[in-house]
Structures are given as structure tokens and as C-alpha cells.
Symmetry: C2
Subunit: 99 residues, 2 copies
Amino acid sequence: MSDTEAPVAVGTLQEVLAALSDPVRLEMVRRMHAAAGPAPCARLYDGVSKSTASHHFKILREAGVTERSVIGGQTHQELRLDDVEERYPGVLRSILSVS
Amino acid sequence: MSDTEAPVAVGTLQEVLAALSDPVRLEMVRRMHAAAGPAPCARLYDGVSKSTASHHFKILREAGVTERSVIGGQTHQELRLDDVEERYPGVLRSILSVS
DNA sequence: GGCTCGGTTCGATGATTATCAAACTGATGT
DNA sequence: ACATCAGTTTGATAATCATCGAACCGAGCC
């Protein structure tokens, strides 16, 4: 079974930038982008504890940058690139394209 | 007389995003962009003390986002849009173009 | 010299925030 | 029922950070 939550509106530009300014979260976002679809949580981070990772996922979701879905009982996270692009054109796209 | 400091290299993407994620600093950057050239410090902020503003200017400079110059004895701040664009194409430009 | 004006630096304080371990929850499997 | 696995929440701690006032500095002016 698949279950996706009703996504919150994309947050303020400040919220989005603050969400992306943490290295752990930016790496999460990069991996979600590479995954190009719902990805299991555990594949999206390294070097921090489960609880810390969950905290960062929450911040990303509350900024409207990602959404959570449950697929076959497992939680997945997914980048809301189109939504963020619609609200702030070019911002997330350029950040992801930069090395 | 005009005196411009040798600008530091543009910082990491994290540093740049962190610098822009503060509302006071983003407003400073917006005003510098509008000024399109060296602008006197006092025109670039509202609602915080002189010392706080100076602190924020420093963070922006250390991230390589702005530079300081002295024109006729007065300190001015200027956006380094071209340098940041060269290092992180699209990032700062898109942030400035967004409402 | 002494004064003001614009900025910076110092030191302190309060608020955020990142982090973890532990307890909890919900689903799956035996 | 029990155990396990994945993720969340809670509570606490440590670190970072924004903010301010006060002291300081350099340039121009009287």
C-alpha cells in the first residue's frame, strides 16, 4: 500500500534557505534528488543518529521542501522540487546543480 | 579617496546559504542589490543596533557574499554578485529575483 | 587639542538549535 | 503472543548565534 500525506505549503524563503543551510539536511536533499522519487529514510543520511535524522526530516517537511509517504509500511521521503520551483523559481534547482 | 579590500574567496555553499538565511542579512543583501554599487552601511538595515548590523556585515563578508570599501572616509558595502554567480551559478541570482 | 560621526570590537545575555539516548509506536514476521 | 525493525517523540545537554550596550577607533571639523 501507498499513502502520501497532504503536503503543507512551501514555507517562506527564509525557512527554505535555513532548511538547506545545514550540511546534514543539504546532503539529505541531494540524495533525495538523486533518488528521483520516494526514498527510504535510512538511505538518506550518514553519521548522525536516527533521532537526529528524524529531526532534520521534520524541519525539511515543515519548510515544505520534502514530503513523507508510507510505502509498504516503510516511511519514505521525497523532494518536492516542482512545488519549491513553482514558489521560488530557480532557487532549489540551482542549489542542486551546483558542486 | 576610494579603497577596496582584496576580497576573500567565496565561501562554501553552506556558508553562503547560512549567510542568506537570516532575515536581517537577506534584507541587507536585497538593498545592496538595489543599490547596484557600494552603499553606505546605514542605508542597508533597520531595526537592529549598529553593533548587530556590523556583526551581520562581517558574516556576509566572510561568506564572500559582500565586500567592504571606504569611499571618502565612509565605509560602504557592496554585493559581490558576479563572484558568487561564477562560483554558484544561479543561486544568488534566483534568490534575489524571488518575491 | 577636543569634538562629533560612522563603524568596529568586546563582553555578556538570551534564544535557537543540533545532538543523543531512551522510551514509545506501528507494522511485519515467527 | 512475542520479537523485531523502522521511525518518532521526549527530555536533556552542549554549542551556536543574534542581540545589545559600552568601550574603542579613525576621519573630518572646529
